[in-house]
Protein backbone atom coordinates (compact mmCIF):
# COMPACT_ATOMS: atom_id res chain seq x y z
CA UNK A 1 0.00 0.00 0.00
CA UNK A 2 1.50 3.33 -0.99
CA UNK A 3 1.59 5.97 1.70
CA UNK A 4 -1.42 8.33 1.29
CA UNK A 5 0.85 11.34 0.79
CA UNK A 6 1.92 9.87 -2.55
CA UNK A 7 -1.56 10.34 -4.02
CA UNK A 8 -1.70 13.88 -2.63
CA UNK A 9 1.59 14.72 -4.32
CA UNK A 10 0.50 13.07 -7.57
CA UNK A 11 -2.73 15.09 -7.63
CA UNK A 12 -0.98 18.38 -6.95
CA UNK A 13 1.79 17.79 -9.50
CA UNK A 14 -0.70 16.65 -12.14
CA UNK A 15 -2.96 19.65 -11.61
CA UNK A 16 -0.13 22.15 -11.67
CA UNK A 17 2.28 20.80 -14.28
CA UNK A 18 -0.07 18.85 -16.59
CA UNK A 19 2.82 16.40 -17.04
CA UNK A 20 3.52 14.32 -20.11
CA UNK A 21 5.16 11.89 -17.74
CA UNK A 22 4.98 11.59 -13.98
CA UNK A 23 6.61 8.88 -11.93
CA UNK A 24 6.74 8.91 -8.15
CA UNK A 25 8.87 6.34 -6.36
CA UNK A 26 8.83 5.82 -2.61
CA UNK A 27 12.44 5.32 -1.49
CA UNK A 28 11.60 5.46 2.22
CA UNK A 29 12.50 1.82 2.87
CA UNK A 30 16.08 2.53 1.78
CA UNK A 31 16.36 5.06 4.57
CA UNK A 32 14.86 3.16 7.50
CA UNK A 33 16.69 4.14 10.67
CA UNK A 34 18.18 7.21 8.99
CA UNK A 35 17.38 10.58 10.57
CA UNK A 36 14.14 11.89 9.08
CA UNK A 37 12.79 8.41 8.36
CA UNK A 38 9.47 7.62 10.02
CA UNK A 39 7.79 4.30 10.67
CA UNK A 40 5.30 3.66 7.89
CA UNK A 41 7.38 5.40 5.24
CA UNK A 42 6.25 8.38 3.20
CA UNK A 43 9.41 10.38 3.87
CA UNK A 44 11.76 9.83 0.91
CA UNK A 45 10.62 10.13 -2.70
CA UNK A 46 11.95 10.37 -6.22
CA UNK A 47 9.84 12.30 -8.71
CA UNK A 48 10.40 12.14 -12.45
CA UNK A 49 8.38 14.76 -14.22
CA UNK A 50 8.26 15.91 -17.83
CA UNK A 51 6.29 19.09 -18.39
CA UNK A 52 6.18 21.81 -21.02
CA UNK A 53 6.09 24.28 -18.15
CA UNK A 54 9.79 23.69 -17.52
CA UNK A 55 10.69 25.22 -20.90
CA UNK A 56 13.01 28.14 -20.47
CA UNK A 57 13.47 27.59 -16.73
CA UNK A 58 16.86 27.02 -15.14
CA UNK A 59 17.42 23.88 -13.08
CA UNK A 60 17.04 25.84 -9.87
CA UNK A 61 13.75 27.43 -11.02
CA UNK A 62 12.37 24.03 -12.05
CA UNK A 63 13.17 22.57 -8.67
CA UNK A 64 11.75 25.60 -6.88
CA UNK A 65 8.52 25.32 -8.87
CA UNK A 66 8.10 21.74 -7.60
CA UNK A 67 9.15 22.71 -4.07
CA UNK A 68 6.45 25.40 -4.09
CA UNK A 69 3.71 23.04 -5.26
CA UNK A 70 4.73 20.50 -2.60
CA UNK A 71 5.54 23.04 0.12
CA UNK A 72 3.07 21.59 2.64
CA UNK A 73 4.30 18.04 2.14
CA UNK A 74 7.94 19.12 2.45
CA UNK A 75 7.12 20.94 5.65
CA UNK A 76 5.08 18.09 7.07
CA UNK A 77 6.86 14.85 6.50
CA UNK A 78 8.61 14.56 3.17
CA UNK A 79 12.22 14.67 4.23
CA UNK A 80 13.99 14.00 0.93
CA UNK A 81 12.84 14.59 -2.61
CA UNK A 82 15.01 13.57 -5.55
CA UNK A 83 13.85 15.44 -8.65
CA UNK A 84 14.41 14.67 -12.33
CA UNK A 85 12.68 17.48 -14.18
CA UNK A 86 12.68 17.69 -17.94
CA UNK A 87 10.89 19.49 -20.70
CA UNK A 88 9.45 17.50 -23.61
CA UNK A 89 12.08 16.85 -26.27
Amino acid sequence: MPHPIEAVMRDKLTAYFIPLHLEITDDSHHHAGHSGAKAGGGTHYTVKLISAQFRGLSRIKRHQAVHNVLAEELKAQVHALVLHLDEPS
Binding site: H34, S35, I60, H63, H67, L74, L81, L83
Partner: protein, 107 residues
Protein backbone atom coordinates in the same frame (compact mmCIF):
# COMPACT_ATOMS: atom_id res chain seq x y z
CA UNK B 1 14.76 38.05 5.03
CA UNK B 2 12.52 38.95 7.92
CA UNK B 3 11.76 35.45 9.11
CA UNK B 4 15.45 34.68 9.44
CA UNK B 5 17.31 35.80 12.51
CA UNK B 6 19.85 38.34 11.40
CA UNK B 7 22.79 36.62 13.06
CA UNK B 8 22.37 33.34 11.14
CA UNK B 9 21.72 35.24 7.94
CA UNK B 10 24.92 37.22 8.47
CA UNK B 11 26.92 34.11 9.30
CA UNK B 12 25.76 32.38 6.10
CA UNK B 13 26.30 35.52 4.08
CA UNK B 14 29.85 35.82 5.30
CA UNK B 15 30.55 32.09 4.70
CA UNK B 16 29.39 32.18 1.07
CA UNK B 17 31.18 35.45 0.37
CA UNK B 18 34.50 34.64 2.00
CA UNK B 19 34.90 31.12 0.55
CA UNK B 20 34.97 30.31 -3.17
CA UNK B 21 33.18 26.99 -2.72
CA UNK B 22 30.94 26.22 0.25
CA UNK B 23 28.95 23.07 0.81
CA UNK B 24 26.22 23.13 3.46
CA UNK B 25 25.87 19.49 4.35
CA UNK B 26 24.93 16.93 6.95
CA UNK B 27 28.13 15.81 8.60
CA UNK B 28 31.59 16.80 7.41
CA UNK B 29 33.55 16.19 4.23
CA UNK B 30 35.51 13.52 6.10
CA UNK B 31 32.42 11.99 7.64
CA UNK B 32 29.21 12.78 5.74
CA UNK B 33 26.09 11.71 7.64
CA UNK B 34 23.69 11.57 4.72
CA UNK B 35 23.92 9.87 1.33
CA UNK B 36 22.99 13.00 -0.62
CA UNK B 37 25.66 15.06 1.12
CA UNK B 38 28.20 12.27 0.58
CA UNK B 39 27.37 12.17 -3.14
CA UNK B 40 28.12 15.88 -3.58
CA UNK B 41 31.38 15.55 -1.61
CA UNK B 42 32.40 12.71 -3.90
CA UNK B 43 31.77 14.80 -7.00
CA UNK B 44 33.75 17.75 -5.63
CA UNK B 45 36.61 15.53 -4.53
CA UNK B 46 36.60 13.81 -7.91
CA UNK B 47 36.98 17.22 -9.57
CA UNK B 48 39.76 18.14 -7.14
CA UNK B 49 37.81 21.11 -5.88
CA UNK B 50 38.76 22.49 -2.48
CA UNK B 51 35.66 23.43 -0.54
CA UNK B 52 34.55 24.67 2.83
CA UNK B 53 32.18 22.20 4.48
CA UNK B 54 29.54 23.50 6.88
CA UNK B 55 27.87 20.85 9.01
CA UNK B 56 24.25 21.96 9.48
CA UNK B 57 23.67 19.22 12.06
CA UNK B 58 25.75 21.22 14.52
CA UNK B 59 23.12 23.92 14.82
CA UNK B 60 19.34 23.96 14.39
CA UNK B 61 19.54 27.65 13.56
CA UNK B 62 21.95 26.94 10.71
CA UNK B 63 19.96 23.93 9.53
CA UNK B 64 16.82 26.05 9.16
CA UNK B 65 18.72 29.22 8.32
CA UNK B 66 20.32 27.90 5.15
CA UNK B 67 16.92 26.69 3.90
CA UNK B 68 15.48 30.17 4.34
CA UNK B 69 18.57 31.89 2.97
CA UNK B 70 18.50 29.89 -0.29
CA UNK B 71 14.73 29.36 -0.50
CA UNK B 72 15.57 25.67 -0.83
CA UNK B 73 14.02 23.06 1.48
CA UNK B 74 16.69 20.37 1.48
CA UNK B 75 20.35 19.77 2.32
CA UNK B 76 23.02 19.64 0.80
CA UNK B 77 23.38 23.03 -0.87
CA UNK B 78 26.36 24.17 -2.90
CA UNK B 79 27.54 27.76 -3.28
CA UNK B 80 30.26 28.85 -5.70
CA UNK B 81 31.55 32.43 -5.52
CA UNK B 82 28.52 33.52 -3.55
CA UNK B 83 26.05 31.98 -6.00
CA UNK B 84 23.66 29.16 -5.13
CA UNK B 85 24.28 26.34 -7.61
CA UNK B 86 21.86 23.71 -6.36
CA UNK B 87 21.34 20.57 -4.32
CA UNK B 88 22.38 16.99 -4.92
CA UNK B 89 20.27 16.29 -8.05
CA UNK B 90 21.41 19.44 -9.82
CA UNK B 91 25.06 18.88 -8.95
CA UNK B 92 24.92 15.32 -10.24
CA UNK B 93 23.19 16.42 -13.45
CA UNK B 94 25.70 19.21 -13.99
CA UNK B 95 28.58 16.83 -13.35
CA UNK B 96 27.23 14.30 -15.84
CA UNK B 97 26.72 16.95 -18.52
CA UNK B 98 30.14 18.52 -17.95
CA UNK B 99 28.64 21.87 -16.86
CA UNK B 100 30.05 21.61 -13.36
CA UNK B 101 33.60 21.19 -14.62
CA UNK B 102 33.07 24.22 -16.87
CA UNK B 103 31.76 26.23 -13.95
CA UNK B 104 34.85 25.52 -11.86
CA UNK B 105 37.20 26.15 -14.79
CA UNK B 106 35.53 29.50 -15.35
CA UNK B 107 35.42 30.59 -11.76
Amino acid sequence: MQTLSSSVHDTIDSLVKSNDVVLFMKGTADFPQCGFSAAVCNVLEHLDVTFKDVNVLESDAMRQGIKDYSNWPTIPQLYVKGEFIGGCDIIKEMFQSGELQELFDKK
